[in-house]
Amino acid sequence: MFTRPRFLATAAATLVAATALAGCASDDAPAAGTLEVTDPWVKTATPEDMMSAAFGTLTNTSDEDVTVVAATSDASPEIQLHEVVGGEMQEKDGGFTIAAGESLTLEPGGYHLMLMGLPEAIEAGDEVDFTLELSDGGAVTFTATAKDFDGANEDYDHEDSMDMGSSEEPAEG
């Protein structure tokens, strides 16, 4: 379940990692396959939107390549790992691979976590928990802050192109 406002991560985001048991945080978890998630945020959405997207920077702090193969959140029954190629959004085959010591930035118009079939609104200031599942069986959790954002809109219908530039949200406030 994602929680309504508690604490906003002002610096590095929550990092819990590298254990096959999601939610089982441990500071002395094995170092292999460790990802640090910084500046995570998720776009606000109404239930009518049905979808949203989450962003942030994934930094591989280990000395081995790390591959994110899936993402889950109580806020969304389905999350896909997406990339944008030639202006069109598509699932990233094989997940996100981050080389040892490298970072991958998830951002509007680029790589992102695509949330689909949202059962309820994500409101500005909400804090949404995510878990990234890694190819080595590990998992990384982080909490993303919900931000109003007019970009990153995707008219997703499973067939046609994604219009990354449109801004069809109803006006707020």
């Binding site: 406002p5 906003l8 002002t10 500046d39 409101e123 500005a124 802050t145 109003d148 406030g173």
Partner: protein, 415 residues
């Protein structure tokens, strides 16, 4: 660069010569450099030293109160949406705190597609204040003074469009681009919680125009604010910080009064230099009291001339606003405004107006009723400057203390 900087003299570092580069920023630290007595004319800051200047955001006080006012200021006032309850109010303050904590430190905000605008903060600060309605939405105790000031019918011509607001954000710093970007993040992150009630922009001299520490001049040409205590002064601390008399969430915080004061430049044109100096009781050239000494010497309200009249007119601004103990007075933070002339506006002679200028008169004080109101009452009763000045906007907000990393400004309201 390393090879060049090795031989850079201390003087060149202090003066910010082009060769000094990044080393100069380290040497100068967070404070501005002024002119060194007896030193040759300094090179201009051609290295962006001031752009990189960062005022720490986190701490016991909100940094916009404790730092020297920047060259530019933007005030944003908001009204809460009807359904912004206690939890949503906290969420809003968390979001705004996060934006400010990042952008004032030279980092992009979350969901910031223009992070390049953040990297030159130039001393950017953000200060958050809450009106009575916001405190009540939080379910917290509001201090008695939190609300509109009493009316001052002798002088007030207040307009709703410049007055009030359930919350206020003051951004000040030396770079208007940095301010504009933080302002944009603040208004974007406020849409779900509040509506923008008004926005007021002000300025002082640009960075580098005056030596640091120079008292500002308002658009009447007056040195304005000579007696106001400065951050770090003992009197500043006594005047500003709320103590045990305040609700727990406000202790270590303060209050902000903002008055938008229109200045009648055309009427001022009719006054000669002597009359101008007499209206304030200070010399135009350097701000020194008409009773002598330098700008920061005390005004002698008893001193008489050869005819037996006091040198300083009892109705002069300096006489009417005088407080014997600066720790019992207010601390001023002023910025000029010079806005486009409004359609149909007339000047004091009934002609089409050609100027729309004034002062964003801000003041910090621990207790509005005890410190601000008595002073304003005296000035409303008599102050020669009232002839050419008109308050057209007014607001009062509680300024909570600062927060540490991981916290947010106003968190004490929700404790």
């Amino acid at each position: 660069m390393p090879a060049e900087s090795t031989g850079v003299s201390r003087r060149r570092l202090l003066l910010g010569g082009a060769a000094a580069g990044a080393g100069a920023a380290v040497t100068l630290g967070a404070e501005r450099t002024g002119l060194l007595p007896g030193s040759p004319a300094p090179a201009a800051d051609a290295t962006g030293i001031n752009g990189a200047r960062i005022v720490p955001f986190h701490g016991a006080r909100q940094a916009g109160v404790t730092s020297t006012p920047g060259a530019y200021a933007t005030y944003l006032a908001f009204d809460l949406l009807p359904d912004t309850g206690r939890d949503r109010l906290a969420a809003w303050l968390r979001l705004l705190t996060d934006d400010a904590a990042r952008l004032t430190q030279g980092r992009g905000a979350l969901a910031d597609l223009e992070p390049e605008l953040a990297v030159r903060p130039a001393g950017l600060t953000a200060t958050f204040g809450l009106g009575r309605a916001a405190v009540e939405r939080a379910g917290a105790e509001a201090p008695g003074w939190l609300g509109p000031l009493p009316a001052f019918p002798q002088i007030d011509a207040l307009e709703e469009r410049w007055s009030g607001g359930d919350a206020v954000v003051l951004l000040h710093g030396d770079d208007p681009t940095a301010i504009a970007h933080l302002a944009r993040m603040v208004v974007r992150d406020s849409r779900a919680f509040a509506t923008l009630r008004w926005r007021q922009n002000g300025f002082r001299r640009a960075y580098g125009t005056d030596p640091s520490g120079t008292t500002m001049r308002n658009l009447f040409g007056q040195v304005d604010g000579s007696t106001t205590p400065k951050p770090g002064d003992e009197a500043f601390d006594r005047a500003v910080w709320a103590g045990d008399e305040a609700p727990a969430w406000l202790r270590g915080g303060t209050s902000l009064v903002l008055r938008r004061i229109a200045m009648d430049l055309e009427g001022w044109d009719e006054v000669g230099r002597e009359g101008r100096e007499a209206s304030v009781g200070r010399r135009l050239a350097d701000g020194a009291p008409l009773t002598g000494g330098g700008e920061h010497d005390a005004v002698d309200l008893e001193k008489t001339d050869e005819r037996g009249f006091t040198v300083i007119n009892p109705a002069a601004h300096a006489a009417r606003s005088h407080v014997s103990d600066p720790g019992q007075g207010i601390v001023r933070i002023g910025f000029s405004y010079d806005d486009p002339v409004e359609e149909g506006a007339l000047d004091s002679q009934g002609r089409p107006a050609v100027s729309n200028v004034g002062l964003l008169f801000g003041s910090w004080q621990r207790d509005v009723a005890a410190q601000y109101v008595p002073m304003q009452e005296r000035l409303a009763q008599a102050d020669l400057l009232n002839t050419w000045t008109t308050p057209i906007g007014s607001g009062v907000w509680a300024i909570p203390p600062g927060c540490e990393e991981g916290g947010f400004v106003g968190e004490g309201l929700f404790a």
